[in-house]
Symmetry: C2
Subunit: 562 residues, 2 copies
């Protein structure tokens, strides 16, 4: 039995229970508060982070050739100056292939125990603070988001996937006894043993904004089921990946396993290594997070491998009526601001009947709803500290251009201009507040596609059912990861639920008083796989069951077989 | 709660337990003995079968256009004269699409209950005897094989897939309560509900030889998870499919469900409807059993759907030594004869070291092993009654031509000629006994491909490890569904196990005194999915988990949502 497995077993059991009952739970600290962690650990992390700057990241990779590094802090606009190894991809795949022989034969408990230890170490405050600093200065998130969203929340998603992998593997017994008679012959007595065989080398492509949130579950799902994992981070957000890859390799090494079970390929935006990795003859599994165009391309072209994608879509809100106008507007405004609307769960399209809606404050016209939404955004951003906390920065300066282009081309429709907020700490911070446009439901060419970043539309529909029809059409054509409805009319909510579900989308109803972008590990099935925003759930049984196969050996009982 | 589910629940629970522990169990009678069933039921089935001949099969299909029927009994060489509806495929898909709306929303228990009732009815003696008669005179199996292999054994495979489907669906709870605090805000309390959404219309392509054995699991897996199923039987073996389709439609209809959840498309060998069905825009799932060439084509071209295949390969035996020469030869000979080696588990390539082997009867030279194998075949076929019982007939007269061609082109290598055995009951029966050739391991062009029917090779290898290398190379390149090794040397067995597993094949060691072709439901994982003989297990969790997806709705607790 694996010592690590036994040590962390209570955690795994709790995770399995949480997945089964889908209540709220986290295995890791979400708050960076000094009341919990003191001040030494955060300060030490800052020192460690500073020491990483301007030099090669201390990590070795098989087949190292040279180094690259093009990360720029969205807060300081300064290059981090950290470089990472580029590798000979053939050598890397060979090393993964070599590593997988023993790993594939290692017991489930040993493999899961090592994965649990990885999550455990990554969940230690020392690691969480350093991870947060690294995420801030690459993905551009606010510190609190980087600490929780890319820390505990992401680790929980990893733990969740690990729990499913363990469930799926445990479903296959190790041995069996089989006895029956065939006709008049003496009873046949067989012993059987079953071996799980990993699929092969897995590629995990992480995105620039949230590399851990999708990366951890993909890595856990593939690694626990016996597959070596090669991670291809975004060139803009490599440091957080390099940090967790280093930790994972350390855990493998100290446990006596081949560290090349987890490797990383650094590249540049100009010369990406992604397609070469995805289409390599040894690639058996692909997990991709990123833009929908490339995601779709992978789904349509990488038939050499199992493909799991999580991309993006046109997330919508349909407003029919509300008994909490202020709460609703605040909730939607929060989604428009949070992480500068660069989350896969950020709202983009807000449908409101052109004749207005009933509210707890009486009738509100379309324009009044627009005004209230804009005011709610303004209110959230009033204090620069709060704005910084909520919005963080833009991961990519190009988003400014996208904002400008849409605002300029549709200047008559702009009801809230995007601007910079003054970051209290970093005067060069790449900040942007939400651009909001008021458009007609007919203008589908404008709103009926993903606009990455703080760009949103309040869309005048003929009525709420018309809004539903348009919003769910967008789901079918462009995908959605989250969808919201606000209504006091249960029959409308029922129609909305049926319409969104029929379009392959999940639905949140009347959420107020919480960050509505929040997708809860162990509870929310993330991507439905029924619309173009991706095919992978993160996590359910389908996310893990095909990452391994089963072979067996049978022999007469008592016939000693090695 | 579903009444049918409650009625059959003990059976389902037993099936789940059998899958978990993988012991021997059957839910259905395997023996057609009159001691069990009396004589009236078999006689009534024969009458029913006779009444079906020469007229349109009594079944209605949506979009009926005309009728076709080209079945010929391999026992009488007479056309059955039964015709089946051809359909307008667009109308058929429309009817399936319509049927799936309610079916997808029907509770898991109701759906599984109905599937259980289908298996239950198909497992009644009345149904089993008629099914056996129909299988005899289409697939050409002996009655006993048709009764057990295409009756109980096939129903057990269906039950097994149903058990996995139920396990996978039950893994997702119906509702959950979720409570947590975000920062200083009041506690958020949400209720969530989860809905399983079927993938869409499923196509099941059945083969000419064993339409039920692969058909039932595919149908159960898709139907239980909410997908309508369109079955495309082989034009030579349509009657057994038409019979079970009729029963399944009856069960749906009497339970108040749309019978068009299970439909059938008849076609002809000259003008098959298969590709049109597989590539239809509505097709979401494909289960295919048949030849490896078409199976591979589907895997490579039908990316519109989830694809599950079970085809064929080069099943091998590697003989290193034995402590039961007679038992081993009898076991291998049984495989060469059973169902005229038209089973996906039939042995084709028998590797023997050219310098002979050690046995319990002393040293046996290569030629002596050849002789013993041939004698064992001859002995099994000595009595025409036994030959008929064991071999049945050829499903397709073209197999004669294949046998002749190989025998003529390699006349010097023939160590056992194929001939007809005299069927005690049907003088026109299309019978053929095993053709056995003696070849060198170098002659891979000859033995290194699937030869469908009673054609096998005893292959002289340099030694047992060389045999292993060649046999597992064939697995990698051409696939395998079963593989056998005979050896008294545990270290060799260990090498064999590792070599076959590494090639993606399961292994049976030293099986004697039982039909070695037998693949046991609930115990043997059938196709590994790791070699070219198919990608589907029938059944494991991976066989079912992707046939549905999950959508959810979340809303504030207490906020009544329809």
């Amino acid at each position: 039995m694996s010592e690590l497995f036994n040590r962390h077993k209570p955690l795994l059991e709790k995770a399995i229970d949480a997945c089964d009952k889908r209540y709220s739970w986290t295995a890791f600290p979400e708050s960076p508060s000094s009341k919990i962690h003191g001040t030494e650990i955060p300060a030490a992390a800052k020192t460690q982070f500073a020491e990483l700057l301007g030099k090669p990241f201390p990590i070795k990779m098989p087949g190292m050739i040279s180094t690259v590094g093009e990360e720029v802090s969205p807060f300081t606009e300064k290059a981090l100056g950290i470089t990472y190894p580029t590798v000979d991809i053939e050598v890397l795949f060979e090393s993964a292939k070599k590593a997988r022989v023993n790993w594939g034969r290692t017991s489930i408990e040993e493999r899961v125990g090592i994965c649990l230890e990885m999550l455990h170490r990554l969940g230690q405050p020392e690691s969480l603070f350093l991870n947060a600093d690294a995420t801030v200065h690459t993905a551009g998130q606010s510190f609190i988001m980087a600490f929780a969203g890319c820390g505990a929340n992401a680790l929980d998603r990893g733990m969740e996937a690990l729990a499913y992998a363990y469930k799926a593997m445990s479903d296959v017994p190790v041995t069996a006894r089989w006895e029956r008679r065939f006709g008049a012959a003496p009873e046949t007595r067989l012993e059987k043993r079953y071996r799980l065989v990993p699929r092969g080398t897995a590629i995990v492509v992480t995105c620039a904004t949230f590399p851990q949130w999708n990366g951890y579950p993909a890595i856990m799902a593939s690694l626990a089921t016996g597959n070596p994992v090669i991670i291809k981070p975004h060139p803009k957000t490599t440091l957080p990946v390099a940090l967790f890859v280093r930790t994972m390799r350390e855990v493998l090494e100290v446990s006596g396993h081949d560290p090349n079970l987890v490797t990383m390929v650094a590249d540049t935006c100009e010369k990406p290594a992604t397609i070469e990795l995805l289409q390599h003859r040894e690639t058996a599994i692909i997990d991709f997070t990123g833009g929908p165009v490339f995601g779709r391309w992978i789904e349509e072209n990488c038939h050499n491998a199992l493909v799991y994608t999580e991309t993006a879509g046109c997330n919508s809100v349909v407003i029919e009526s509300t008994d909490d106008l202020a709460g609703m507007c605040a909730a939607i405004a929060h989604s428009l601001c949070q992480a500068s609307a660069q989350m896969c769960t950020s709202v983009q399209n807000i449908f409101v009947p052109r004749d207005g809606i009933e509210t707890n404050e009486g009738y509100a016209s379309f324009d009044q709803v627009c005004n209230r939404l804009v005011s709610a955004v303004d209110q959230l951003l009033e204090s620069p500290k709060q704005a910084a906390y909520l919005c963080g920065t833009l991961v990519d300066g190009k988003i400014y251009k996208a904002i400008d282009e849409i605002a300029t081309a549709n200047s008559g429709s702009v009801i809230r201009e995007s601007g910079s907020y003054k970051h209290p700490e970093y005067r060069n911070a790449r900040t942007a507040t939400p651009l909001v446009l008021k458009v007609d439901a007919e203008e589908r060419l404008l709103y009926g596609q993903e606009h990455f970043g703080p760009i949103s539309f309040v869309i005048a529909s003929d009525n709420a059912d018309h809004a539903l029809q348009r919003a769910t059409q967008d789901v079918r054509e462009h995908g959605a990861i989250t969808s919201h409805v606000y209504s006091t009319d249960n029959s409308f909510i029922e129609r909305a639920e049926n319409a969104y579900h029929a379009a392959g989308a999940s639905l949140a109803c009347n959420l107020v008083g919480m960050p509505i972008n929040f997708a809860a590990a162990y509870s929310d099935f993330h991507v439905t796989g029924l619309n173009p925003a991706g095919n992978a759930c993160l996590a359910d049984l389908a996310f893990v069951t095909s990452r391994f196969r089963i072979v067996q050996t049978k022999f007469p009982a008592g016939n000693q077989v090695a």
